[in-house]
Every structure is written in C-alpha cells, then in structure tokens.
C-alpha cells in the first residue's frame, strides 16, 4: 500500500508542470463563438416579448371582434328596438311606407284645422273614420304588416285619445314640454298632456311633425303601437283615430326639427313588447332567430389526450442514445363559438406534459460461468422519467362538415403562445447523472401553430363526444426537453366531451 502511495505521488509530481503548447493551439489559430452577453440576451428576450405581446393583441382583437358580433344577437328587447330603428331608415322601407301614406291622406282638411276637427269629430262620433276602411284595404295588400297596424289601430280608441289629449296634468317631463310647444304650434291649443300614454302619443305626433314625408310611415307605426298601449288602460271601443290624426297633421307640418330618438326608458314594458311584435320587418325578426341559433351552437369542452414529439438532438451529443421521447399527456378546456353551421372559432387553455426518458446504463461486475467456461457481462439500466410541462392559450378557426346528419367532421388551424412551466428529471454531461436544470438559453415562451382534424358525434341534444388529431409546430426556439435537446413538433390525439351552452 505504501509503495502504491509513493508511486502515485511520483507519477503525479511528473505532471505538475504544464507542457509547452504547440503553435497550432495559439489563440489566433482558434475560432471561438463567444456567448451572448446578458445585455444581448435581454435584447433578444425583449424582441420575443414584443412578438408575444403583438400576438396576444392580435388574438384578443379577433376574440373581441367575434364576441362583439355575437353580442348584437344576444341583446334584450331594448336593443331590439334600436335595431328596428336602424331598419326604419332604409330607403326601400321608406318608399313602401310613404306610398301607403299617400293613399292615406283622404281629407281636405286644412293643416291647422285638422287636429281640432278630428278631436271634435271624435267627441261626437263613435264610428270609425273613412281611414279605417283604408286600413282594412291595406291589410289585404300586406297582410303581415297591415294586421299589426290594424291591431294597433283597433287598440286605440276615441276615448283614449280624447282623454289623453284633453286631460291635464301639471307634471311634465322634458319631452312633454317640447310636446307642449309642438301642440301649440299645431293648433291643438290648451291641451296639456298628463298621462304616460298621451305623453307617448304626443311624442309620436311630434316625431311625425318633425319628419319629412317619407319618414312618416314608420312614425305612424310607432304611433300606432303607442296608442295601442293607451288602449290597454282605457279599454274603450276600437277606433282608428289617433294614428291617422297625427299622420295627416304632421305630413304637412312645417316644423323641421330632427327626429327625436325614442327613449326606451319612457316606454313601459308592455309597450316594448308590443313594439317588438308589431315591427313589420322580417329582417329584424330573422335577427332574433339567428341570435337564438348562434347561442345554441356555442359550447364548452374539456379534453384529455396523448402527445408525442420529436427530439432535436445532435448526432454527436452524448445524450443521443440516452434520451428517448415517449407518450406524454395533454389536457385542454375551452369554448367553441360557432359562427354558423360551417365555421367555428375555438378558444382554449392547453396543458401539455412532454414525457421523455433518460436511460442510465451502469456496468456491473461480470459473472463467470464455470460450466460453460464463459464470462457473462452485466449492465444495470435505469430509466429516469423526465417531464417538461407547458401551458398555452390556443385560438383556432375550424371548418365543419356534417356527414349524413350522424356526425360532424372538422378541420382547422390554430395558433398558441405557450409558456414552459417546468422541466424535471435527470441528465448528464458525461456519465455522472445529475438533476435536469432548465437551460436559460432557451426561452420559456414559444409560439405554436398547427392544424387539427376531428370528428364530433352527438350523444344527445346537449352533449357531444369528439376525437381529434392535432399537429403543432413550434416556431420560436422550441420546448426544452433535456440539455441541448429541444422539440419543435408535436402530435396529439384528444378525446373531448363538449356541452352546448343553450338549447
């Protein structure tokens, strides 16, 4: 033992002095790539962050745009009213209404006299005016529209109009004040309006007064609706007076104020619903139906699947034969918004666990087989499980195709910024096994893009099951798997259950 120590010391002593270096190893003869400094790294990271930020902005704006569009169809009745208003202004509608109105001006009454005359007529005569007959004719022409109109006209009564116009009330709203002015201009003098019904009626009158001829049609309809509301409270006999009154009066009015916007807050709920029903525009109705369809098609889903991935590894890397990619797990949850039956947008949160093994082989003492006179080599192989966990926000656009009404196929594209949460396991630089440490040279942020194919089978009206294949490619950097090893491609197979939000 002593000899060994002396021998070892002697040998070690011989090599304490370093040898002379040949000229081929001079600094000038070498060619090194210097690592990036911290500042350079910061700059690179800065660019990456900007890119990711832009991407997030892009996805957010797409989402915002889509939700905004959906939002139109999910509004309540108050927004339906405003939708109708926009439709009123359409030229074809104006033409229709104005043509009807032209035939609706049967009287020879003077402009300023007419309201008074009609009021006086109403006070003495309970029968419908000649305009009522005209409305009946109109009904034949355009059944859908006329029915609504006539219903409303029938709903209005002489009494209600009279009561409304002749009753007084000192409580006035700002709108009422305007109406007072208007009333005085239109020679309905000395009639202060008191009830909410008459308020509405006069409001309509004013609207009509302010309108050019072509606008009167829709005002009359609004007026009709409003007067119908008055009827609900007075319960008098049917008579179509007030709409006609206001129309004929206002057509020739010289007041040229802009059309006041109907304040939904001024209208009781019954009136709003009546308006919606009476709206003679199929388009508006279609919108309501569409909105129902769209809501119906939105669904939430949750899916679990398996992923496989490639390993970008250099042939000379020591880990070449030690690291293997095996099947990992993926989890996703999100919402699918069906724009129509053909297209849908999906927003989801995705969790991927990339699973790789690190094989460590250790040679054991050989065994001698005396019977056969041979030496048996032994190795101990340890499989260490390595995991890289990532989370991503994915947005995708999908095209759906129904097959025989039994199931649905879809194909789509997606993009997903991802963030690597952790990387755990074992590695080696040579043969010493050590814990895997995330390589900071590889950014934790990555950008995935890819395509997916799937088949959806409905279990019932609410639940679907889905099988989907997804291929993703990582554009920036890659996902860290082990030392000097990244992955930039991923395949996944998902089994998903989705639930329709509303029937």
């Amino acid at each position: 033992m002593k000899n060994h120590k002396e021998f070892d010391k002697y040998i070690k002593g011989l090599f304490e002095k370093d040898p002379e270096v040949p000229s081929e190893l001079n600094w000038e003869a070498m060619d090194f790539d210097f690592p990036q400094t911290t500042e350079q790294n910061d700059k690179t990271n800065y660019k990456k962050y900007i890119g990711i930020l832009l991407l997030l902005l892009f996805t957010t704006s797409i989402g915002y745009f889509y939700f905004n569009e959906m939002g139109i169809f999910t509004k309540t009745s108050s927004s339906l009213l405003s939708t109708d208003e926009s439709i009123f202004s359409k030229s074809n509608f104006r033409d229709n209404v104005s043509s009807r109105l032209e035939s609706k001006e049967p009287t020879n009454l003077q402009l300023n006299e007419r309201p008074t005359q009609l009021v006086s007529e109403l006070s003495t005569n309970e029968s419908p005016t000649s305009n009522y007959t005209f409305e009946e004719k109109n009904k034949n022409k355009d059944k859908g529209i006329a029915q609504n109109t006539v219903t409303k006209i029938n709903a209005s009564t002489k009494k209600s109009v009279l009561q409304a116009e002749l009753s007084t009330d000192k409580k006035t709203t700002p709108i009422l004040n305007k109406q007072d002015d208007l009333a005085s201009n239109n020679t309905v003098k000395g009639t202060n309006i008191s009830t909410s019904q008459t308020n509405n009626l006069l409001n309509v009158k004013q609207n009509k007064a302010n309108l050019p001829k072509s606008y009167i049609g829709h005002t009359s309809i609004i007026g009709t609706n409003e007067t119908s509301k008055a009827k609900t409270k007075t319960e008098s006999n049917s008579i179509e007076t007030s709409p006609v009154l206001s129309q004929t009066n206002l057509v020739q009015s010289s007041i040229a104020n802009p059309l006041p916007r109907i304040q939904i807050s001024n209208l009781p709920n019954t009136e709003i619903s009546n308006l919606a029903i009476a709206t003679p525009f199929p388009k508006a109705k279609n919108n309501v139906q569409k909105s129902k369809n769209k809501i119906k098609m939105s669904e939430v889903f949750i899916g679990y699947g398996y992923n496989t991935f490639n390993l970008n590894i250099d042939d000379t890397d020591i880990l070449k034969d030690k690291v293997n990619n095996v099947r990992g797990s993926s989890l996703k949850a999100g919402i699918r918004l069906n724009k129509n039956t053909d297209w849908s947008v999906s927003l989801l949160l995705k969790y991927d666990q990339y699973h790789s093994t690190f094989d460590h082989i250790r040679a054991l003492e050989p065994i001698v087989d005396f019977k056969n006179l041979r030496r048996i080599k032994r190795e101990e192989v340890t499989f260490h499980n390595n995991y890289t966990n990532t989370i991503g926000l994915q947005i995708g656009l999908e095209r759906n195709v129904k097959v025989l009404n039994l199931f649905q196929l879809y194909a789509g594209m997606n993009i997903a910024p991802t963030y690597t949460l952790s990387a755990k396991g074992k590695t080696t630089e040579n043969t010493i096994v050590s814990d895997l440490i995330y390589d900071n040279d590889i950014s934790k942020f990555a950008l995935n893009g890819g395509m997916n194919l799937g088949v959806i089978y409905p279990i019932n009206s609410s639940l679907n099951i889905e099988l989907a294949y997804q291929y993703n490619r990582i554009f920036l950097d890659g996902i860290f798997i082990n030392n000097d090893i990244i992955t930039n491609q991923q395949n996944a197979l998902f089994f998903t259950i989705s639930y329709k939000l509303k029937k």
Binding site: I11, L14, F15, V21, W27, F34, E365, N430, T431
Partner: protein
C-alpha cells in the same frame, strides 16, 4: 484566484480580450490533460476547441464559492475528452481484460528510450489499454475517487480498483522491463 474571477467577470461582460487571457492562461494545462488522455495530434485542436467553447458558454454557471476555477475547468476538460472518446470507451468495455495484457508487450518494447522521465511515462500512458489509462489518469493524476471514476466510466467502484491495480502493475512491469 482573484485574477480568475476578474477575468471571468470581464468575459461575462462580453470582453473578448478577457476570453483571450483566460484561454492563454489555461491552454497549456488543458493541453497537458489532452496528452495524458491520449488525444491524438490530429484531434487535439478539435478537442481544445470543444473544451474552451464549453468553458466559455458555461462561465455564467461557474460558482466561485463552490470550487476553484481550475478544479471546475479540469472537470470540464475531462468530461469533454471522455465524451469525445465515449464510443471508444464503450468498445473497450466489451473486450476481455485478458486481451489487453497480450497487446501490451508489442507496444512497450518499441518507443521507450529514456527511463523515469515525464516523456517516458507519458509514452507509457499512451500505450496503456484505454480503460487502464483512464482510471490511471483519473485516480493518480487528477485525484478522482473510485466512486467518481465509477460514475464517470459507468463501471462499479470495485472494477475501478481492479483496473487501477492492473494499471499500476502494468506501468511498473514496463519500467522494470526497460
């Protein structure tokens, strides 16, 4: 030691002159290790390139409180050399130990001219069977323990002891023979 730390700091700030200083300070030491581990002349430039590239890239991970820079550098050198020769080592592991003894005689008689000097020992080391050479270098000159050698070479510590004893005997035998 302090100068090493200052040089490393300069390197991390991107000073290329500091890299040059570091290289020139340790190249002869690195070269000595390469020779001991029988890196051939044709390969030595590549190996040095790999070693220093690894050192430069890993400088940010160096912790002066854990070890001296020279120790850390030595580990990188040996790891890289072993990595470079990994395939050869694997092949050697499959060979029977007895085969080596047969091949010794043919090498030992040829190149030895002087006795007991450094060049002579070096030439002996070069002629050693690879696993002898590695264990001999790692244990006697680089100061690794049998456990560390076992981990480095994927062998058991007992094997390392056996190989070391055989290597010693091999060197002594050849020295006496001369």
């Amino acid at each position: 030691m302090n100068s090493d730390i200052n040089i490393i700091k300069d390197c991390l700030q991107g000073n290329q002159l500091a890299y040059k200083h570091l290289y020139e300070k340790y190249i002869s030491y690195c070269y000595g290790i390469c020779i001991r581990y029988s890196v051939s002349k044709s390969e030595i430039k590549d190996v040095v390139q790999i070693i220093f590239s690894q050192v430069f890239n890993s400088l940010k991970n160096y912790d002066s409180e854990k070890s001296k820079f020279k120790t850390w550098f030595t580990h990188i050198c040996i790891n890289q050399i072993l990595s470079y020769r990994r395939k050869q080592i694997k092949q050697l592991q499959t060979q029977d130990f007895d085969d080596f003894t047969e091949s010794i005689g043919s090498h030992t008689e040829s190149n030895i001219e002087d006795s007991m000097d450094k060049q002579h020992i070096l030439s002996l080391i070069k002629q050693m069977p690879n696993n002898y050479q590695l264990v001999f270098n790692l244990f006697i000159i680089d100061g690794y323990s049998h456990k560390e050698i076992a981990e480095q070479l994927d062998i058991s510590p007992e094997s390392s002891r056996v190989i070391l004893n055989r290597a010693r005997r091999w060197v002594k035998k050849n020295l006496i023979h001369i």
